[in-house]
């Protein structure tokens, strides 16, 4: 699609109320757990208390005998013979021969009440043979570590690697030796980050119904109803077209709701209970123990820099565990880690390692925050050593359009330089710092994503428009899509309603992930609106008896495209809609594709902290997010994404972590001890939207959801070094760790 030349928009860039606002502030919005059905049963799941254990026997007889229990399922109720990722999903849904982590599902019950279901779960007796376990990535990669699964490695893993390495990545370019030789300073450091959870406020919830005929329904809180359909069908051996999945409103996802956990269990229980619908709502502890947190990482980085700040070579070697299954985002971490920099000589090595932890899911820019923590921390330390301004060094080495990215492809239009220049001018950088205070900066990157996209829109009889989209609205996408469609049609924002529809209503849509909804669904909706305009122009042309190419669409009306085309007054969308029955029937527009023209997004964050030298407590004094949005369709939601990414990154940097005990059990499966930031921990997060339009989108959209979580980890570490002189290389930088480091540095 050619770049749109229109620079001034009527609606795009304004901030109307969100269409789902009233329902959400009045409590009327229906989330996953709000869905009920006649004859509904309640499901509950028995979970492994062991990190690694052979399942010798499951005795469900007492549970089945309990009054009110209608079905009990174990892995024996699932089809066999699955392979690859489908087997992984099935195995994670319900343990087979072994429990692979604390919280792994062992059996599930459906009963007439939630209390009976929970009681029945307690009546199931499981004989385990407890096996040695491993939860730390550096322990899991040792040659003599407990083996999670034989034969899990794919073809990328060379002979002789430790048994828990299941994927291996190696890529780069240039001459590393020569690159490091050209440097005036070469530094090498090791870093660790701990697993964190997305921490969405709404726990997973679903209501599944499946009959003996293999026809089923599911209502579920998810980022992607087609993913739920495809994955449940695969795991249960169903015909995908016979399963209809309807998404609820969603109380946060951040990538964690792009896969299945207990959804197939509700379907399996329903089928066994004669087709009665079965509702399963996870507790917060279940969410933390048994859904998909992000990976933990152990990373070595080596960088060469000249005394005037030019990067000459960089080597990154990352090891990540993403639980007991392949899929740690080590590749993404490697791709993103050096992406902001133009470096001739780069080498990337990555290991995906199994450990006795829950199967990781996507979490906002999967992998990128870890890689940024390692690279941006080391670059900052080198700037301090060489007495260079970290902003100037970032600008000096910044990638521009046409540069080859560190991970291979050539960048199209990107806005890193614009972001860095805008950051350097922001007043936050001029605020003087007091004692025990420090300032840190860091850059971040995310590719953004397109994905399968199908959108339909239709003109109503009164000239308003409805749009059917397949991407659940997590971050305000209904408002943004309504703005784009209204802008295109030339009608009011309030005259467009965007509906997130079930799987029966559209072709396959990937979930709302990869920061794609406003880009991909927005682009498809705009093209669909253009198709409807073309049809409306045709109806006007027929009415006027002129050639349809002689009709243009201006401000919500068809009109002759000039004096030669004919002399007719404009025919408004209302006029055309009113007569649609007599002029050829319903008017709609449709588009489906994997939209091309994805635009990557760079960001830069600046944070000021104060560290209490007596307790090691880090307080965030002020925080600035600057990021290239391409075009901010609804700037309030763009700012919200920037702020949300920053806050999740602050939590990851300072306090959030999965803490496993020596017994391999998760020690902190509640929000009291899994310490996400609370509102009073934070200042208002300052934001600045940079707009370097993406030529691949009709309005210039890049996608803004993910980049924002990438810079906070290193930015805060860099600020702590400014405040204390300490280089913290292991997240989270808790008061305990900072105080211990302060004490050690004073000895």
């Amino acid at each position: 699609m050619p770049k749109d030349d229109i620079k001034e928009f009527r609606l795009v860039g304004t901030r109307p109320n969100r269409p789902d606002g009233l329902d959400k502030v009045t409590g009327r919005a229906r989330y996953g757990a709000d869905i009920t059905a006649p004859g509904m049963l309640w499901g509950a799941v028995l979970r492994s208390p062991h990190a690694h254990a052979k399942i010798l026997k499951i005795d469900t007889s007492k549970a089945e005998a309990l009054s009110g229990v209608k079905a009990v399922v174990t892995r024996a109720d699932f089809p066999t013979g699955l392979t690859g990722e489908e087997w992984n999903l099935q195995e994670n849904t319900m343990a087979g021969e072994k429990a692979l982590y604390d919280g792994h599902a062992i059996a599930a019950v459906a009963a007439t009440s939630s209390l009976i279901a929970q009681e029945a779960v307690r009546l199931i007796k499981v004989d385990y043979e407890v096996l040695p376990h491993v939860t730390d990535v550096d322990d899991a990669i040792k040659p003599d570590a407990p083996v999670i699964r034989e034969g899990a490695a794919d073809a990328s893993v060379p002979e002789g690697m430790p048994p828990n390495v299941v994927k291996y990545f190696e890529f780069g370019r240039g001459d590393m030796e020569a690159g490091f030789k050209d440097a005036d300073l070469v530094m090498e450091r090791s870093f660790k980050t701990e697993a964190t959870h997305q921490g969405y406020i709404e726990p997973h919830a679903c209501l599944g119904q499946l009959g003996a005929d293999g026809k089923g329904e599911m209502w579920v809180c998810t980022q992607g109803q087609w993913f739920i359909r495809q994955m449940c069908s695969a795991v249960l051996g169903l015909n995908a077209a016979q399963l209809r999945v309807t998404p609820s409103e969603i109380g946060g996802g951040f990538g964690g709701k792009t896969t299945i956990f207990m959804e197939p269990l509700s379907l399996a229980l329903s089928q066994k209970a004669g087709g009665r619908p079965v509702k399963i709502v996870m507790s917060r502890s279940e969410v933390l123990r048994a859904t998909g947190p992000t990976a933990s990482a152990s990373m070595d980085v080596k960088i060469g820099m000249t005394k005037d700040g030019k990067l000459t070579a960089a080597r990154a070697e990352f090891r990540m565990q993403g639980g007991a299954f392949p899929g740690a985002p080590v590749d993404m971490a490697l791709y993103c880690s050096l992406a902001p920099y133009k470096i001739e000589n780069v080498e990337h090595i990555g290991y995906d390692v199994l450990a006795n932890r829950p199967k990781c899911a996507a979490y906002r820019a999967p992998g990128s925050p870890m890689g940024a923590f390692a690279v941006e921390s080391l670059i900052d330390e080198m700037c301090r050593k060489l007495d260079l301004d970290p902003m100037e060094v970032r600008l000096k080495n910044a990638v521009r359009e046409g540069d080859q990215a560190s991970y291979g492809p050539t960048f199209g239009s990107i806005g890193l330089v614009e972001v860095l220049e805008a950051t350097a001018k922001h007043p936050n950088l001029a605020v003087p710092l007091g004692p025990n205070q420090g300032r840190g900066v860091a850059s971040g990157y995310w590719f953004n994503h397109n994905g399968e996209t199908s959108v339909s829109m239709a003109i109503s009889e009164d000239g308003t428009a409805q749009v059917s989209v397949g991407t659940p609205d997590i971050g305000g996408s209904r408002a943004s899509i309504a703005l784009m469609v209204a802008e295109t049609l030339g009608i009011a924002y309030e005259d467009v309603r965007v509906n997130v529809v079930e799987t029966g209503a559209l072709g396959v849509n990937e979930p709302t992930h990869g920061s794609r909804a406003t880009f991909a669904t927005g682009k498809a909706a705009t093209i669909a609106a253009r198709a409807a305009i073309k049809e409306m122009c045709r109806r006007a042309a027929n009415e006027w008896g002129i050639d349809e190419d002689a009709v243009e669409w201006v401000e919500g009306a068809a009109q002759p495209a000039g004096p030669n085309a004919g002399n007719y007054p404009p025919m408004s969308i209302k006029d055309i809609a009113k007569n649609m029955g007599a002029t050829g029937g319903p008017i709609s527009g449709h588009h489906e594709s994997v939209p091309d023209g994805v635009g990557a997004s760079f960001g830069c964050h600046v944070v000021d902290v104060e560290v209490d030298p007596e307790t090691g407590l880090t307080k965030i004094l002020r925080y600035l997010v600057v990021q290239d949005a391409g075009r901010a369709i609804h700037p309030s939601y763009v700012e919200g994404q920037y702020q949300g990414g920053a806050v999740q990154g602050i939590g990851w940097a300072l306090n959030e972590e999965y803490v496993y005990g020596k017994d391999g059990r998760l020690q902190n499966p509640i929000f009291l001890d899994y310490r996400m930031p609370v509102a009073s921990d934070l200042p208002m997060i300052d934001t600045m939207i940079v707009e370097v339009p993406n030529p691949g989108h009709p309005f210039g959209v890049r996608g803004v959801g993910e980049t924002g979580i990438t810079p906070p980890l290193p930015a805060i570490a860099n600020a702590i070094q400014g405040a204390t002189g300490l280089r913290m290389s292991h997240l989270p930088m808790t008061p305990t760790k900072v105080l211990a480091a302060l004490k050690a540095s004073q000895e």
Binding site: G616, I670, D673
Partner: protein, 288 residues
């Protein structure tokens, strides 16, 4: 599960003594209900005390002290100007418990009987030399607050014992108290270490003091050596150093997900120093 709503503490005591299996009293319910929902505690008998007359009251006792009903919420304590004027440290400890919503239900007695070493309201009560009135099978008796906790999740209360009121002594002149805790977050968190100090001054000199620490031992602890370090001093540097050393010496914490033993011990000393300054300022009538 049996659920009772007795109308007197004597009845509550009898019900508890006669119950079999696991019994829990319900005041605010902010611990018990959460434990039940998470499945960690599933009582066979629940005895709701809130309907007993007088349990919602905050009253002056004839000697000038205070009697606080067992169902008085943190929010009500925080609204009571006279009580805050007397015992700001006691009230600020309770106000740190939970969120605004939890404050509407949570009680001092519940915080005490939950048996957590990290209970935020308990060090302030101990420093204030508060006691609890216990209605038991053999009658009513009064016990110092510091004698109630027996270890994490455990109390010294016997079957049939039910706390029927909290008694805080008269404040008297030239006195002040304070409580602070350390948490990695500003709220909605649990103390990694806590310290409460109550003291009285004679001019600039500290004449009486009680120091209590929380979350650094199996129970909240009264630290007489720390009090001794303050008494007779003007809170000079030497006294503060002695206070910090005595507090750290009294610490016997665990390493866990909330903090290491070393960290808890270190920070308990820091808190003692900070809290002593606030209590001293309050005792001298300086606005704090």
């Amino acid at each position: 599960m049996d659920f009772h709503t007795p109308s007197s503490f004597e009845d509550a005591s009898k019900l508890a003594a006669e119950a079999t299996g696991l019994t829990r009293f319900l005041a605010g319910g902010t611990d018990v209900l959460v434990q039940m929902r998470s499945g960690t505690v599933l009582p066979d008998t629940l005895i709701d005390l809130k309907l007993i007359p007088g349990t919602q009251g905050i009253t002056r006792t004839p000697d000038g002290g205070w009697r606080i009903g067992i169902a008085v919420s943190g929010a009500r304590l925080g609204d009571h100007a006279e009580l805050i004027a007397d015992w700001p440290g006691v009230v600020e400890g309770m106000e740190l418990v939970g969120s605004t919503q939890v404050q509407g239900r949570a009680t001092l007695v519940g915080n005490l009987c939950n048996g957590s070493p990290a209970a935020d309201s308990v060090p302030g009560l101990v420093a204030a030399q508060a006691s609890v009135e216990i209605t038991g099978l053999t009658g009513v008796r009064t016990v110092p607050v510091e004698d109630i906790p027996a270890g994490p999740g455990k109390t010294t209360l016997q079957p049939g014992d039910v706390i029927s009121g909290i008694l805080i002594p008269p404040r008297g002149e030239h006195a002040g108290d304070a409580y602070q805790r350390f948490t990695p977050r500003t709220e909605m968190d649990i103390a990694v270490a806590g310290c409460a100090i109550s003291l009285r001054v004679d001019g600039d000199t500290i004449s009486e003091a009680r120091v209590a620490v929380g979350a650094v031992a199996p129970t909240v602890r009264l630290v007489p050596d720390a009090a001794a370090a303050l008494i007779g001093s003007t809170l000079d540097d030497a006294a503060i150093d002695a206070l910090v050393a005595a507090v750290r010496a009294a610490c016997n914490p665990i390493d866990d997900k909330r903090g290491t033993a070393e960290f808890r011990t270190e920070v308990a000393g820091v808190l003692a120093k900070r809290v002593a300054k606030i209590a001293y300022g309050r005792a001298k009538g300086e606005a704090q």
